[in-house]
């Protein structure tokens, strides 16, 4: 077995040069020091992690070190890091990157993250890992800097795209990689064509995906690991619920994916205290809510409207502003609205106008004053967000808004404002992802998302490593409304809030999460009576409980790493 050996000859050229010029010659003391340095920094073993010795500011947790070791020693530097939310995937990725950099295997690295996380990654890599990472702000950065952090959306566009393809990256890290589950997207294609010598895909939610999604993700990392496309789908049905259905597939996936769950880490987590706060409508609010139901009686409504009515009802539980905004849009969308339709809408708008107070907002104010500390309010609706900001300001409470659509700089700025100046951060659903707010430990769910995963993401923003206090979660629900049903049956019966995330992941995997939401819409829009709603909700709950029992039945085999 011969291995190619290269000998660096540049040194001798300079030696000859210095001999001709009679110097300059180095000092003996420095010469000896240089050898001592070299002996100290040389790494004589293939195995083992060097990075921890270099990171005085950081004490990685045992599971994080284990992940780093696994990836370097057993997975050849290509892995899907799929720890549950809050276990420190960034730290794991940083450790791996650092390890390769110390060993001289990685010089140039590209890190693609959601726009809102760019600054945070840059900051963490610099302060915790002493990796001189730079946020991509100018196009020359690609070439002139070794470690660049950017959003995919920027990177995939020209002129950046072409410049990036010219670079020889030793390592590519992609955060929130579950967004690449669809192989037909531009983002997917962009990442696929990157040269990935070492590659880390970070995701908290890979196994909620269908088999096709896991195929796409793994094929991005290691094409062929799950076979060719046709062979794969010949073997596994495209719409199969989860990879856990197939033992062999799960084993294959576990070769490229590491997933730690909270309970495996042996870390003491701060507790979650969940409090449901039932709220009563005022008479006017109740009127508004009831009037929306009358819309269903109208047969002239367009077909998609059962969903609209559902939405309107949920909005009525949030704020009159949210309802109003949707109504306006409904009218706008109809080219020639029927008189009956217009009449109905007008009558609802009248009801909107009759509402003068917001019971939830009043309760929110009371709660915030009582807490006297930082609070995050989550709402699904922008109109509610705006209203709340105005409302709190009226009562002398400073707040900052947060939305997914904010540009990177604005998100950072808002986070900063919240940390240093404002008491309250009001986030819409999209704002729930991708920002860490561990300095806060109170969440008010002003209204509830119907997708339990989104709820988990909300809580995950503050209940993660680094949170030192117990987390308090307040769930608002208006009595005798859709909201009440959801909260009571779904969230309370299956104890969703107390559950640590891992359990939830597993349960939802078996259920195919996206559909929970569909079920709910279906139940609420198609049921003709309260009784029917109740029966259907009970069914759904049993189904979830069944999935839960199933999981407990086969222990942790389903998610454990091999």
């Amino acid at each position: 077995m011969t291995v190619q050996i290269t000998f660096d000859s540049s040194w001798q050229d300079e030696l000859l040069n210095r001999m001709d010029n009679d110097g300059p010659w180095g000092s003996w003391e420095l010469y000896k020091l240089a050898i001592e340095v070299e002996k100290q920094t040389i790494i004589p073993e293939f195995e083992g992690l060097q990075a921890p010795k270099h990171l005085s500011q950081l004490t990685p947790l045992p599971h994080q070190l284990e992940v780093a070791k696994q990836v370097v020693e057993n997975m050849n530097g290509k892995a899907i890091l799929a720890d549950e939310v809050g276990l420190g995937k960034t730290i794991e990725a940083g450790l791996i990157l650092k390890e390769y950099m110390i060993r001289g295997l990685v010089k140039k690295a590209l890190i693609l993250v959601p726009a809102s996380l760019v600054s945070q990654w840059v900051m963490e890599l610099n302060s915790k890992f002493f990796i001189p990472a730079v946020a991509q702000r100018k196009s020359y950065v690609w070439e002139s800097c070794d470690v660049v952090v950017s959003s995919i959306d920027t990177a995939k566009r020209n002129p950046h795209r072409d410049i990036i393809y010219e670079q020889n990256y030793d390592m590519v890290i992609i955060d929130e990689a579950h967004k690449l589950k669809n192989s037909k997207t531009k983002n997917y294609e962009f990442v696929q064509n990157l040269k990935k010598k070492f590659c880390l895909l970070l995701t908290a939610t890979p196994i909620q995906n269908r088999v096709s999604e896991i195929f796409n993700l793994v094929s991005l990392l290691k094409p062929g690991h799950l076979g060719s496309e046709s062979a794969f789908y010949g073997k596994y049905k495209k719409d199969a619920r989860s990879i856990d259905d197939d033992e062999h597939l799960r084993e294959l996936v576990n070769k490229v994916m590491i997933r730690n769950r909270r309970e495996d880490t042996g870390i003491e987590w701060t507790k979650r205290h969940v409090e449901t706060i039932p709220i009563e409508f005022t008479k006017e609010e109740q009127d508004l809510y009831n009037s929306i139901r009358t819309l269903t009686e109208d047969t002239h409504l367009p077909s998609a409207s059962s969903f609209s009515i559902m939405t309107l009802q949920r909005e009525a539980c949030s704020s009159r502003e949210a309802v109003y905004y949707t109504l306006k849009n409904m009218i706008k969308r109809q080219e020639t609205p029927s008189a009956i339709f217009e009449g109905k809408i007008a009558s609802i708008i009248k009801k909107v106008e009759a509402v003068t107070t917001n019971s939830k907002a009043a309760k929110t104010l009371e709660l915030i004053q009582e807490i006297g500390d930082k609070v995050i309010i989550f709402t699904e609706y922008r109109a509610t967000q705006l209203y709340l900001q105005w409302f709190l300001q009226q009562h002398g409470i400073s707040s900052v808004p947060f939305r997914g659509g904010f540009k990177r700089g604005k998100k950072d700025w808002m986070r900063e404002l919240f940390e240093k100046r404002a008491q309250v951060l009001i986030a819409t659903e999209a704002g729930g992802e991708g920002i860490n707010l561990q300095f806060c430990h109170h969440i008010i769910n002003f209204d509830l998302p119907w997708n339990p995963m989104r709820l988990e993401q909300r809580i995950g923003r503050i209940h993660r490593l680094g949170q030192e206090k117990d987390v308090k979660i307040y769930n608002f629900a208006i009595k005798n409304t859709v909201e009440d049903h959801i909260l009571k049956l779904l969230y309370e019966k299956i104890n969703l809030f107390e559950k640590v995330i891992g359990d939830l992941d597993d349960i939802l995997t078996r259920l195919d999460v996206g559909k929970v939401e569909d079920h709910l819409v279906d139940i609420f829009s198609q049921s003709s009576s309260e009784g029917e709603i109740k029966i259907k909700m009970d069914n759904l709950t049993s189904m979830i409980q069944f999935a839960e029992e199933m999981r407990e039945g086969d222990g942790h085999a389903a998610t454990g790493n091999t």
């Binding site: 420095l30 005085s56 062929g224």
Partner: protein, 263 residues
């Protein structure tokens, strides 16, 4: 590297570079940099450029380095230095850069009647890196006597006990080498390569197997896809990831003129 070792290393580095210590405590040091060291470490080319243009008086900076923060008074503002800190690695790099080439004479003075003959040696201190998707390095020091071609391992350690000086001592003279430096380097290179080839290269074999495995998967994956561009990219990436290579780089080295008894 322990904090104490780091501290001692820093002291020696700055001393060797003729910097004065404004403060030298067990837990921290404040160094008055020389002009050269300021340029070497402080990364302010514009200042120095400006000074050259305007002819001002150079004011090199002071640098405070803290090696034991808990024992350092709070009012001391300095950089915390530990094994992973960028500053320390900058100084490591600087050390190697400043001492890449050396020429020394054994300090054995002769007398007018009995001049000391000094034999020429070429020394190379090298790092050998074994690289695939993982990497390990070893350090080697080889000395070559440039008259008879004798090669000596651990040369650096052997000369540490000698008294060496940059100027040829009085009543000493150097013997002319028969081997030219260039061919001397080549002899050392060949020796290293021969040694390496005799080693056990299971690691490389295993890396090639990993490579082949991934390559087979890749071929299978692209068999039915007509996208040669991304196939080529992936194939190239696998090569970069796994292909076993050995690199020999020179840390430093130079010429040593030693008495016959020295080695």
């Amino acid at each position: 590297m322990q904090q104490q070792e780091i501290h001692d290393f820093l002291l020696r580095y700055f001393e060797a570079n003729h910097c004065e210590f404004v403060k030298s405590e067990p837990s921290y040091m404040t160094v008055q940099l020389t002009e050269e060291m300021d340029k070497e470490l402080m990364n302010r080319p514009f200042y120095w450029h400006y000074l050259e243009k305007t002819g001002g008086i150079p004011q090199p900076m002071q640098l405070t380095l803290v090696t034991d923060a808990p024992k350092t008074p709070e009012d001391v503002k300095g950089e915390n230095i530990h094994f992973g800190s960028p500053r320390l690695h900058q100084i490591f790099t600087s050390t190697k850069k400043l001492a890449g080439y050396i020429r020394l004479y054994e300090n054995k003075q002769g007398s007018p009647g009995r001049q000391t003959p000094l034999l020429p040696w070429l020394c190379l201190n090298v790092k050998i890196s074994y690289q695939c998707d993982r990497k390990r390095d070893i350090y080697q020091s080889i000395g070559l006597q440039m008259i008879n071609g004798r090669m000596v391992p651990d040369f650096h350690d052997q000369i540490l006990s000698l008294s060496l000086t940059p100027k040829i001592p009085d009543y000493a003279f150097t013997l002319s080498p028969l081997i030219k430096p260039k061919s001397g380097v080549m002899r050392i290179e060949n020796l290293l390569k021969t040694q390496i080839n005799e080693e056990d290269h299971t690691w490389a074999e295993e890396a090639r197997q990993r490579w082949k495995k991934d390559k087979d998967l890749l071929d299978h994956f692209y068999k039915e896809i007509d996208d040669t561009d991304s196939y080529e990219i992936e194939k190239q990436a696998l090569k970069l990831q796994y292909e076993p290579k050995i690199n020999i780089s020179v840390i430093n080295g130079g010429l040593f003129y030693l008495t016959d008894q020295a080695i």
